[in-house]
Symmetry: C2
Subunit: 608 residues, 2 copies
Amino acid sequence: MSYKLPELGLNPSSTSAGTNPGSFAKAGKIAPGTEGRWTFASPDTPGMPEPSDKTAWDFLPAGWTTEELQTGEVVSASGQVVFRQADDSLRSVSFPADFEPITQLESARVGIITAEMERVAERETHLSPAQVRDEVAAGRMVIPANKVHLQHQLDPMCIGRASKTKVNANMGASPVSSGTDEEIEKLKWAEKWGADTVMDLSTGGDIDGCRKALIENSNVPIGTVPIYSMIIGRKLYDLNMEIILESLQHQAAQGVDYFTIHAGVLHEHLQYVKERLIGIVSRGGSLLAKWMIDHDDENPMYTGWEQICDVMREYDVTFSIGDGLRPGGLADATDQAQLAELCTLGELTERAWRKGVQVMVEGPGHVPLDQIEYNMKLQRTICHGAPFYVLGPLVTDIFPGYDHITSCIGATSAGYHGASMLCYVTPKEHLGLPKKDDVKQGCVAYKIAAHSADVALGIPGTRDQDDELTKARAALNWEKHFELSFDPDIARAYHDEDLDVDTDFCAMCGHDWCSVRISKEIVQFASGKEDDYKWDKAKVSDALTEEQKEILEKRGVLSPEEVHKLASKTKKAVGAEENKASCHSDYVDGETAKEIHKNVEVVELETK
Amino acid sequence: MSYKLPELGLNPSSTSAGTNPGSFAKAGKIAPGTEGRWTFASPDTPGMPEPSDKTAWDFLPAGWTTEELQTGEVVSASGQVVFRQADDSLRSVSFPADFEPITQLESARVGIITAEMERVAERETHLSPAQVRDEVAAGRMVIPANKVHLQHQLDPMCIGRASKTKVNANMGASPVSSGTDEEIEKLKWAEKWGADTVMDLSTGGDIDGCRKALIENSNVPIGTVPIYSMIIGRKLYDLNMEIILESLQHQAAQGVDYFTIHAGVLHEHLQYVKERLIGIVSRGGSLLAKWMIDHDDENPMYTGWEQICDVMREYDVTFSIGDGLRPGGLADATDQAQLAELCTLGELTERAWRKGVQVMVEGPGHVPLDQIEYNMKLQRTICHGAPFYVLGPLVTDIFPGYDHITSCIGATSAGYHGASMLCYVTPKEHLGLPKKDDVKQGCVAYKIAAHSADVALGIPGTRDQDDELTKARAALNWEKHFELSFDPDIARAYHDEDLDVDTDFCAMCGHDWCSVRISKEIVQFASGKEDDYKWDKAKVSDALTEEQKEILEKRGVLSPEEVHKLASKTKKAVGAEENKASCHSDYVDGETAKEIHKNVEVVELETK
């Protein structure tokens, strides 16, 4: 008498953004015509703007031309190349005979696969070096790699929707913090917790020395907001083009990989800010707005854009065009001020491409969940696919103290709908300065967002770890379960808090109620029977490590004595195997395991 | 030279689910034809199943008929009513002359607005009592209110997509916990942190006494999973219809408001479980699967469904039809096993409605973000709009220790795409038993999800608090900012950790860099000038409360001495106003405020 499943297709198919089967691909349900594709996008809800029909190829410098050829030969000559693109088509490019490529974009345009592109393709296992080059040439991908930083420890990486979603962590010295050593420690901490780039937002202390040290010690790209240094020790009113260029030149020469520059806030936009609930929340944006009002003049970053490009090109510094008018509250989201600036960001993207400079674009902020897809796809249209680097967005304003959570919800959606990099938010947002643990909490929340977006988009390989962990979990192999976890220490500590034996149940349900154990025991199910995860006997877990001990001490659930006991276990101290032939074994049988844990909060069920 | 905004409409318009302007409505952009509507839905991505054209009105008991009339009079007679629905249409219903309504559904069907519906309409400020009644009659809303619990402290509430998204918190005693008093403490804690219902998942201790005490002390509906009590002290194999009905009768008579019953796992579904990575993760589901394999017989909950309905009807206990085959890992999501069970849940929904019993349906689990919309809308089709009560879903498997976050991301999306209630997940998921703080973390993460879904859907009034807080924030009125926050203690503690003065900047940026202060000072902007939030002078904050002190002690950022200092401030102890006429004032001028905080980590910028 069972109900018949209606004739239903599995999930949306074609969209104006092209076909993407998303995570369904893993199940073998590849939508027709999508094999071998390397762009990833969510299907469009009706009403989304159409993607642009232009790319960076449409914004070449004066004196350049390009066309895609149906037939022809590969050519490499002075002032002309014809090269084979990753999809096997031929592209011809003509340029001034004396041209020498400097930036990754310029190299890509003349068909060169740089060492950095090779390295990026190693790290993005689903992309070939030629695909990387083509994405960079199209302007859909950037490789932020200042020539100077490359001489230190930078490990080249990319930002772009064809690649995995990236995470940025912010840090920065203040006038009274201990400065450089502390910042390097925070850098290493953020790298450990998965940050793909780091921004140095210092406004005090030994700013220059600190920036230099961060660049020299960093494996990840370093971004800055140069307007800070331009103003420290000066009056805002005195800011002019000379100061701007000098400051950018200095930081570029140090090795900064990308600059946030708020050139998109124009004088004519300020009228749209009037009725906003919370005006301008960007530091750079508010300072430039003030400058424009005081001078009654246009934003100098906007008018001097080409001069700025020249400085950046010399070192291959990437633009991160700032969103000075991003909304600081749900009420201001997707309003005229924000969208007007976005149009200017589109114009600035085109102008930067004409100068051969790599570009990514920054985005909001605070946006209700239902407006996120539209925000992402509007940027994709207006900026012709240039990577979108978004802050959050927060999907509600009323949970200060928890804004790493309110914003990682929006960030996951943003990544799924098109953003390429997510700027983290910590629990201290809106309230004060992030501390070391806040940096970690922000990083973890954003790795969750980035990874979940990758899985949703169906980026090949990204769900492998989830599936392996699920198999380990199904097999009740706790060691492998934790090994495969993003934060093995917290997983192990939380588990051992209730039960320090690895066996075929945990404290959540106890032996008799464990559905995973039951599933494993049902002969007909494959669940839990994966060869790689088989184990033999229940085992007392190792003594807690220092990190795990700290975690439990901080949680305050167990008493200090109980934590100490877990942290100082030795094989002898366990004494669980008094009656077995081999003394002092870590292994326990099922009965002993149950006996051991009777003293902790475990659900027991008598089914005999 | 500014770029022109392309001709773009603001967000998607009509969909097969009807028009819903979502959060854009707040901006005054109401889509035509939607005035007065009280259903909320996200626009459909192409490929979504069409909503059902049936409702609970299509599944009346034998001997009942109904029709909607174009013209006529209101009638109330034996065996017939004609009543005016909320949309002004007339509905005629005929039924056996001796019929007496018991459940909310039955009352609604004969046009009655019960006291509980009135109370629900008070709490759902955008709904009228008639709208509530009509949603209940259509089966799209339930009011879980056992007649016995109504005699205690239950404050009637509803679950259904026309109303605000609800949150459930799980708790439950084990064989060795202290039992009843501790569970009541957890209940009150969960209520404080916003749980709309609570499930008692006890499997040990004084189960019966504990359940009774919870019901007697609870303002919120209490749900249970009765199969637990059916099996404790027995062999699973011995489970039969008599035991099942006796157990349900007992719990219904105690006052339980809703039962999770895994009647949807059928013998023929088990073949689909074979290749799953993690089999069956539902306790009830795995036990019934085992029972069916051992007996080689059909699920007795399924075959005995009508007898179960009779028991529930007597007290108006609501069904929460269990998802025994929900996926326990991304790899198993939206698979044949899950969808086959969903079809059965649709059938069971229809059968329950034919018995006059209220129904909600349970859902997954672990689902990649891109599959969530489809999961929600498939259930909407198959279950004819019955409320969907989902667990998470988690959008990635690899972050144990953080599963309140991995799952609240999915839960927000689920609510936006159609789910009516979200079952929380705590940081201890997959690892052990949740402790008091884990309960709080789960509740907060899920209030974030529920509230953000409400805002995204454009449910009237739900964004008011966000906007008020934004205004307070823009005005730099910290007291009001924290008052309007969901967790004022954590917001205040995090702020004061760096700066214990309420003034026109905070420690994040310091005075000169504060964009919010700059926005407030720009005369042309409305930002920060709201009358209700004006303040006069900077003010030293009050001494930390006990809760705030605990928060900072636990964080471990400040030394115990520093925390103690903040917690023991008195007006005299501050000494900030030595030179002012009124001694011992809490108020400080701007200069003094800056002076005070020079000793904490605050960014200072010399712009003079």
